[in-house]
């Protein structure tokens, strides 16, 4: 979000004033408690842009709530990212395609209803069906019958339910996929796969006003656009019961205000420290500032549909541009260390056993002006002698780093005009240009993982025709390796297969990895044991208050 250009110097001056003011008896630095309730965490929140249905939420803010009020079959360990059984007792398959899922006994929704196999099957059928216009419908595309309930043409569906789902008994259901997909069970920790109670289908409007789930928290009240009050639910039987009495999620339009409120003692937790405050955050908060990797990677993606940028010779140019970017300097100067230079196409949160391999990109991701110049020249130079980097100007501080990247390229190529930023007014317009294949040069792309799997960093982005393959990269070798990896029966072999596929990216460079994004958060003295998970969302249930 673009912040107002707050005057930092003024702020520092005021801090000094504050120190001198302590001497006066009537004034105090810090301020009131702002109505803190005993044992309740007051946390900053953003207004979710979409209705709060599990299969309809694709943003971090809405995901935050789902993570508190829902538990699915699997859950990603907030520390390691490992997919562990939550409601699933067993998920079995002999052929990587037909799965039998058995639920744990006696789990309930907060309204008392039992969580059964039907709670899952109904929810998935709902999410997949085109009539419900769920943003995450495509998560069910691997289940057989998806094309019937969600025709690609957008026409009327020919079936109401997914033929690949069968309820066997109260605790068991089977899933048949359209292809082999060995890591599929591990994707089931994603929020879109949450179970839904009957109330959701019977009285949808009421449910939306006050969602009912099966997680450690239940919604006490929800005022759209301002505050959601969640309270710990006593009936929750999972291992991660809430250690606090509840969480108040307060909507802030500007993260600077949230940060000011944290300083004034009106707020306990901000999970998005504004860029302008990063310089001071250490001195302001000390160890109450968290800065740790999240499953987000930023890249510069090339329009592979544009002949000026495709072809084997241009691979050299693309690699050359990558070498011309001084990642270390940019992450330090512009992002104050909240980003880490990327050396592969995944994320450190996967850890090595999950497929993260630092240095896989090799020399191509190392700053080397001389070789960069040589490579770009060998590939015939920049198309037309210059390039633009397209970005959306309405959110984030994209302009800052795009200009920095261009600067870096210009310095290497010894020309002021080799690279310029090309802003697009709004994010929607930007997305439309991308979908309409209107990009004429590299453009910014960010990928936030859906689940901590190497598959999620590669297949949706670089597989031929994949949903988020915005550069329209297509390589038969890459596709074949992804297919093989998906069909592998052992975990290790699947990951190795994906790594091989990733090496194709290192050679062809359809997208330049820039940096891994960290999650950053700050909290008040009232809280302890605050941590972020791999999605950079606070693990609310384990926070202690007081």
């Amino acid at each position: 979000m673009r912040g107002a250009p707050y005057s930092l110097r003024a702020r520092r001056a005021l801090s000094a004033l504050c120190v001198s003011a302590v001497a006066l008896p009537l004034t105090a630095c810090g301020g009131g408690d702002g109505g803190a309730e005993d044992g309740v965490v007051r946390s900053s929140w953003g207004d979710p842009p979409n209705p709060l249905e599990p299969a309809n939420i694709n943003d971090v803010q809405g995901g935050k709530v789902l993570d508190m009020i829902f538990r699915g079959l699997k859950r990603y360990d907030p520390r390691t990212g490992e997919a562990k059984n939550a409601l699933a007792d067993r998920i079995e398959s002999s052929d990587q395609r037909n799965y039998t899922i058995t639920l744990k006994k006696d789990r309930r929704f907060a309204n008392g209803e039992k969580v059964t196999a039907a709670s899952f099957v109904n929810a998935w059928n709902y999410g997949a069906r085109i009539d419900h216009k769920q943003r995450n419908a495509y998560f069910f595309e691997y289940i057989e019958g998806y094309d019937k309930v969600h025709p690609v043409s957008g026409g009327a569906p020919t079936a109401k339910t997914l033929s690949g789902l069968r309820v066997k008994d109260e605790r068991t259901f089977t899933v048949r996929l359209t292809q082999k997909f060995s890591t599929w069970p591990k994707t089931l920790g994603y929020n879109a796969y949450a179970p839904l109670p009957r109330a959701f289908f019977e009285d949808h409007a009421t449910w939306l006003r006050k969602p009912v789930g099966n997680g450690p928290y239940q919604v006490r009240s929800y005022t759209k656009g301002s505050v959601m009050k969640l309270r710990a639910w006593d009936g929750y039987r999972g291992p991660d019961k809430a250690r606090n009495k509840g969480v108040d999620l307060r909507v802030y339009t500007d993260n600077n205000t949230a940060y000011t409120d944290l300083q004034a003692g009106n707020l306990d937790l901000v999970d998005d420290v504004p860029a302008q405050q990063l310089k001071f955050v250490r001195s302001d908060l000390g160890d109450r500032y968290i800065n740790q990797p999240a499953g987000i990677i930023q890249t510069l993606t090339f329009p592979m549909y544009d002949r000026a940028w495709s072809g084997p010779a241009k691979a050299k140019v693309r690699r050359g541009i990558s070498m011309a970017i001084n990642r270390a300097q940019i992450t330090e100067r512009i992002f104050h260390g909240t980003r880490t230079p990327a050396t592969d196409w995944t994320s450190p949160v996967l850890r090595r056993q999950g497929g993260y391999q630092p240095g896989l990109c090799g020399d191509a991701c190392r700053y080397d002006p001389a070789r960069a110049r040589k490579l770009i020249k060998a590939g015939g130079g920049l198309p037309g002698g210059r390039m633009t980097i397209t970005y959306n100007a309405d959110s984030g501080s994209h302009k800052d780093w795009v200009d920095a990247v261009c600067n870096s390229v210009n310095t290497v190529l010894r020309s002021d005009r080799a690279c310029v930023g090309k802003p697009v007014g709004t994010f929607a317009d930007y997305r439309n240009k991308m979908a309409g294949k209107e990009m004429t040069g590299p453009f910014r792309a960010g990928w936030q993982m859906d689940y901590p799997l190497i598959q999620n960093f590669l297949q949706p982005l670089y597989y031929t025709g994949a949903s988020s393959n915005d550069g329209h990269f297509s390589d038969t070798g890459f596709d074949r390796m992804v297919n093989q990896a998906n069909a592998a029966s052992a975990d290790g072999r699947a990951i190795a297969g994906f790594r091989d596929a990733e090496k194709v990216l290192a050679e062809q460079m359809p997208a330049i990895p820039l940096w891994y994004q960290n999650g950053s958060a700050g909290y008040s003295q009232r809280l302890s044991e605050v941590a972020l998970n791999q999605f950079s969302v606070p693990v609310y249930a384990q926070i202690r208050v007081g």
């Binding site: 205000t257 409120d261 979908a435 949706p460 988020s468």
Partner: protein, 307 residues
């Protein structure tokens, strides 16, 4: 006077239709908003098509507009992307901004007119010069600076006020943001009042009043001030609309969920029902405020007649 008011009200209809169409067109020109609903991920074309169809976005612009106006005249302003009816957003946002505007207007009127009268009566003396300087400073400092600095001083350093306003936005919490919002207008009100007072202080009717031997406070309040207020009232009248619509910066700094917030979100997300609905109401407020100002002229100066 009744006919005059009626004529003015009738004139509002074309203005209303014209402005809504312009706004509609401008929001529409920003492009297709559906893609942004899917975040950084490419939208699934079938789902996107369904959403577009649902929001009438697949129709030509004029049909969208007709459909929208049909809704407006039946009291329904469409639905925001998060599934909330726009009327519901209005019901939550307008009272908050109205309260904020009232604080700002009362503040700028009370302080601005007082300061203006005082410095106008003491033209060229110390008080006049310092007020002049003060207003210059206030005009020169942008709202986001004054807002942040005051927020930091009052909210964090001294702890006298909450740095952010709670969702209920009670009047007491709106005092500080209201003052911030009214600051720039305060300066203009002061300067306008002062100039007007200085001008009228030499008018015949003031001299007459003095000659009649009226007490000074009566001369100032009944004769001098009343006539001097016409330009000031004009300014304040138009300012009501400007303050309501222009509260975006102030509302952001103090996290007030009012009109500015909804407009900002609406524009950011290209949510045409929200933007057009809110601006439509603002246009009405603006028009009504202007009418009120014109009618007030006769109250202030009996020589003014309406035909």
């Amino acid at each position: 006077m009744g006919r005059y008011a009626l004529r003015r009200l009738l004139q509002m209809i074309p203005v209303f239709i014209g402005s809504t169409f312009l706004i509609f067109f401008m929001v529409y020109a920003l492009g297709d908003p559906v893609a942004a609903l899917f975040g950084d991920k490419a939208p699934d074309p079938a789902t996107a098509a369904r959403i577009r169809q649902d929001l009438y976005l697949d129709e030509p612009l004029w049909r969208q507009y007709v459909h929208y106006m049909g809704q407006v005249f039946s009291g329904h302003f469409g639905t925001a992307f998060n599934g909330q009816p726009v009327t519901e957003l209005m019901a939550s946002a307008f009272p908050v901004t109205l309260r904020l505007t009232v604080v700002a207007i009362v503040f700028e009127m009370a302080l601005g007119i007082t300061l203006g009268v005082l410095s106008g009566l003491r033209r060229g003396r110390g008080l006049d010069t310092s007020v002049l300087l003060l207003t210059l400073v206030v005009v020169a400092v942008p709202t986001f600076v004054s807002g942040t600095v005051l927020q930091y001083l009052f909210g964090v350093t001294w702890g006298w006020a909450r740095p952010s306003v709670s969702p209920e936005a009670p009047l007491t919490e709106l005092l500080l943001p209201g003052v911030v919002l009214g600051l720039v207008s305060l300066a203009y009100t002061t300067r306008l009042t002062r100039t007007s007072i200085v001008e009228n202080a030499r008018a015949d009717y003031v001299r007459t009043a003095v000659a009649k031997g009226l007490p000074r406070h009566r001369i100032v309040t009944r004769h001098l001030l009343r006539n001097s207020l016409i330009p000031v009232v004009t300014f304040i009248g138009t300012d009501i609309g400007a303050l309501m619509g222009g509260a975006i910066v102030t509302e952001r700094i103090f996290n007030i969920h009012g009109v500015g917030y909804q407009l900002y979100q609406g524009i950011l997300r290209q949510n045409s029902p929200t933007v057009v609905g809110f601006v439509t109401v603002l246009v009405i407020v603006f028009l009504l405020a202007n009418l009120l100002v014109d009618l007030l002229y006769a109250v202030l100066d009996p020589r003014i007649r309406y035909a």
